[in-house]
Amino acid sequence: MAMLEVKDIHTYYDNIHALKGVSLEVNEGEIVTLIGANGAGKTTTLRTISGLIRPTAGQVKLNGEDLADYETHELVYKGISMVPEGRGVFAQLTVEENLEMGAYSRNDNRVRDDIENIYTLFPRLQERRRQVAGTLSGGEQQMLATGRAMMARPKLLLLDEPSMGLAPILVEGIFDTIQNINKEGTTVLLVEQNALMALSIADRGYVLQTGEIVLSDTAKKLSNNKMVQKAYLGVD
């Protein structure tokens, strides 16, 4: 059974039919990527999974349990953590305080150790631990948002466009870390516009076009697919 199962969801923004029956599956231990152009519905899919928007039809299931009964804030306790688009760090708090906020849902005494783990994952954050998050660079904010999401010890990490607005060299670093996080045992659902990078680290991928899944395959096959190459990888 898949860890996360999205079954034929339809989501509306008022009259706009944003998702027209999206289905996807994420198995435990995988990195699955959802690629597509601007406005295809990638972020909407993530927001629907995390309960920020409710689908008008269809189901989102985690380990077989329907998530419709849960509020967004309860999903953290079920093991889902999200890194929102545009990162959303708490600008007025320091790096370390942001990480502490990430552990809000937890009630154990291993938080300190986990903060140190995040610092090994992102040494840059340790250097800036006392700095206010609003003054970090875009790349550092992305690291912080990812680290903060990891502080909840999620089983499933939802990442929304981690490469957005970052220099290519930083994107590579972020994607390396995502791979590391995955190796440590966290399942990842990665929404990306940067299809090339996303497919290079993912196990499987889905291609979303105007609210519908048009292709799904292993990442390797997708990167060799003519249509994907033409539309998203810039290969003629």
Binding site: T72, H73, V76, F90, Q92, Q131, T135, S137, G139, E140
Partner: protein, 572 residues
């Protein structure tokens, strides 16, 4: 004229002189025409030397000289001084023109303030047209001073500003120091420093020298601290409290306890400030901590007051006749419950929408209190009268001073609560919600619960304040609970700095205390209010005492710049 210095073109120099001069002149003329100059002509700040009217009149030409000298920063010092002087002189033109015009045409009916006393002031008692050159000369001199001001270092400027501020403040509020000195020293000492309400010239000089000295000394120490970062370990009391802090707190507390004893009016004003501080601290929880813009806060104040009214009144309307001390906790609880109830319908609203809906709530509550429908319970337009004053064991709380101490206890409680809440887990929840509701939710924060707690806890102090208000006045009427209270409380928070607890206290003191104490300004209250707000928003947009997080943000912006110099590792 050195071409090599790439000076501003001569024509633009004259343009600056003319422009700033005329703006300064317009300011001076404006203050004349609204009547401030003439009205304050008898209010001496420094006995025999400087009246408040003079001060108001001199602002325009001084600013003209200052701005001109600033605009011509690339010119030589002498040129800047000269053009400053000219701009000051130009500032006299508008007033002169209108005075001459008034000699030809009778415009007194339109410009009521353009009377012979004003002309007398502007011509220094010499009459038209003999006094006019003198006016030009004095204004020119002020322009020169304004230009000279731009040569001062930042330190010196701070010192001068502070000295001026201290003298004006002491002279304006001279009642308070005079009373204190008379009460604790002797009338003779007071007479040696003040004459009437004004400072004697000698004491003004001593006071300003003292301020300049202290300010200079202070900046020296600050500079030393900055250079040698390794500061000496502070001496501590009881192992953890820095001695300096303990002393300054003790001073503040002694001040707060003793001051109202000197004067009834002062005690009354301070009590009122206290009520607004309590409300400000409560609303600050909603607005400052949790980011919920609530414009209907006065409703909770009304709930508190009416609860006391209904439960304790001895008029025919009341059937309960409880004592104040029993009714007080009930009033607080009523405030909390209704705060949360009013919060429920607005859970899904943010920002402006929330503000508008809560604004409506505030009005609904006031109109309900005014309505015939509820008048059997709350008295309608007649309100509730004969609310007894509280007493403890035969000790009646019935004078302004005693109410003040009651309020002080309330303020201390609320402030303590606010500080502890800010640093608590709940405080962090509020902060996260304020910054980003979606992210806060993804962290596992229950928005519904967090919002309702903010409304409920924030309302407690308004209930408390309303209770004291009702007992103090002995009667409550619907028209006491108008929108202006919500606005004043919110303004106090904004002026003090969003989310800042000391800021709320200062903000309430400025907004509520100043208008009460500056009765002389009565007619010009809102004019001054407006000017102050505009100046403050330009010079201190974060508020008078912004929070640490805000300061920290600004500081680390500076520090961050160093770190950002390494773009490859730091990124875009």
């Amino acid at each position: 004229m050195s071409e090599a210095r790439n000076n501003t073109a001569p024509s633009s120099v004259w343009k600056s002189v003319l422009r700033f001069g005329l703006v300064g002149g317009a300011i001076a003329l404006y203050f004349c025409m609204v009547g401030m100059v003439a009205a304050f002509d008898q209010r001496f700040l420094v006995a025999g030397q400087l009246t408040l009217g003079d001060l108001v009149l001199y602002v325009g030409p001084f600013l003209a000289g200052l701005s001109t000298a600033r605009a011509l920063a690339d010119r030589t010092a002498w040129q800047r001084l000269l053009f400053g002087l000219l701009a000051g002189a130009v500032a006299a033109l508008p007033s002169i023109l209108i005075m001459l015009f008034s000699q030809q045409v009778n415009i007194g009916a339109v410009f009521v303030s353009l009377s012979s006393p004003l002309i007398n002031i502007l011509t220094f008692g010499r009459g038209l047209p003999d006094g006019l050159p003198l006016l030009v000369g004095v204004f020119g001199l002020l322009g020169l001073l304004g230009a000279a001001y731009t040569f001062l270092s930042q330190q010196a400027r701070n010192a001068v500003n502070l000295a001026l501020l201290v003298i004006v403040t002491v002279a304006l509020f001279s009642d308070i120091p005079i009373r204190v000195i008379e009460k604790y020293f002797s009338a003779r000492v007071a007479r040696a420093i003040f004459q009437g309400n004004a400072l004697l010239p000698l004491s003004a000089v001593v006071l300003s020298l003292l301020t300049v000295g202290l300010s200079y000394f202070g900046s020296l120490r600050a500079a030393k601290k900055k250079v040698g970062e390794s500061k000496k370990p502070e001496r501590l009391i009881l192992g953890r409290y820095p001695i300096n802090q303990v002393l300054s707190w003790a001073l503040v507390i002694a001040f707060l306890l003793v001051l109202p004893q000197t004067d009834r009016v002062l005690a009354h004003v301070m009590m009122f400030i206290g009520l607004y501080v309590m409300m400000g601290l409560g609303l600050n929880i909603e607005v400052g901590f949790a980011g919920l813009l609530d414009l209907g806060y006065v409703a909770i104040f009304a709930f508190g007051a009416y609860t006391i009214g209904i439960l304790t009144t001895q008029a025919a309307i009341g059937t309960f006749g409880l004592s104040f001390w029993v009714a007080l906790p009930i009033a607080v609880i009523v405030g909390v419950v209704f705060g949360a109830l009013l919060g429920i319908p607005v859970l899904r609203m943010r920002g402006d929408y929330l503000a508008i809906v809560t604004l409506g709530f505030g009005e609904i509550i006031r109109l309900l209190a005014l309505s015939d429908w509820l008048s059997p319970l709350v008295g309608g337009a007649q309100g509730i009268v004969r609310i007894p004053s509280p007493s403890i064991a035969g000790f009646d709380i019935n004078s302004p001073e005693r109410y003040y101490y009651l309020v002080l206890i309330g303020v201390a409680l609320t402030a303590f609560l606010a500080v502890r809440l800010r640093d608590s887990r709940l405080g962090r929840q509020w902060m996260a919600m304020r910054e980003d509701e979606d992210v806060a939710q993804s962290m596992g924060i229950d928005l519904v619960q967090t919002k309702l707690l903010a409304f409920a806890i924030g309302s407690a102090s308004a209930g408390f304040a309303g209770a004291i208000f009702a007992a103090r006045l002995g009667g409550i009427f619907p028209h006491s609970f108008s929108l202006i209270i919500s606005i004043t409380v919110l303004s106090a928070i904004i002026i003090g700095g969003f989310g800042s607890i000391p800021g709320v206290i200062v903000g309430a003191a400025v907004l509520v205390g100043l208008p009460e104490l500056l009765r002389e300004f009565n007619e010009y209250r809102f004019l001054i209010y407006g000017i102050l707000l505009v100046v403050m928003m330009l010079t201190r947009p974060a508020g008078l005492l912004p929070t640490d997080t805000f300061k920290r943000e600004l500081e680390s912006l500076e520090e961050g710049d160093e770190g950002m110099n390494n773009p490859v590792s730091a990124g875009g």
